[in-house]
Symmetry: C2
């Protein structure tokens, strides 16, 4: 009895909380895919067509090879981008967004919609003051 009481105190909505973590995990997964300083720009850059490593780097000012390499690997692991090796000499490598990667599109658009409303709201407020 005491234990249950204590649990209730520690987590009044513990029933809904258990439900919640089920919902929470996928949301965090999605956020992980998109957050970080470069991921979004790299994804966007690839939606405009296949690109080579240096090409992406030139398009995104400030992006170091270390970061680009790391992010591209993550995109590959998550099957959002694919890496193609052509045996020219020296080998040339192209990165391409996958069809699956393209399914991020509506999500990114939703983020943009909410984000631009928010941006306007905050700017409007700072003009009021």
């Amino acid at each position: 009895m005491e234990i249950i009481e204590q649990d209730k105190r520690k987590c009044p909505t513990h029933v809904s909380n258990v439900e919640c973590t089920k919902h929470l995990l996928p949301v965090k997964d999605a956020l992980d895919i998109l957050s970080g300083k470069w991921k979004l720009q790299i994804i966007l850059s690839l939606t405009f067509g296949k690109k080579r490593f240096k090409q992406i780097q030139r398009e995104i000012p400030g992006l170091t090879p270390k970061m680009l390499s790391k992010e591209l690997k993550e995109l590959e692991i998550n099957e959002l981008a694919s890496r193609h090796v052509y045996d020219t000499s020296p080998v040339s490598i192209e990165y391409e967004i996958t069809p699956y990667g393209k399914t991020l599109r509506p999500l990114i658009e939703e983020l943009e919609k909410w984000g631009s409303k928010h941006r306007k709201r905050i700017i409007a407020r700072s003009n009021r003051d």
Copy 2:
């Protein structure tokens, strides 16, 4: 002339890139609101009703007062949550999600939809191997 050539080399799709940053900023704004270790859980906790400080803290295991305090301030600044002081003795304080805060709902649902598909995909793959 040379400068323009150089610009082209540095950023082959510079035309679309300029367009892109316009879209990029709001997306990053939206991501900022939701990313971080605790923001989502706090928002979710408040969608289940007004809560007091300690109450939120008890509901979310591992959340320190420092972090909770910081996140609640940010939520207030962004007008997603409101803080109500009641002059009981000692004063009691309640946090509540705002109507504006509730507009995050569809966005969070989109994140969840994509995230759970992704989760299934990755789990399915690891079972294949």
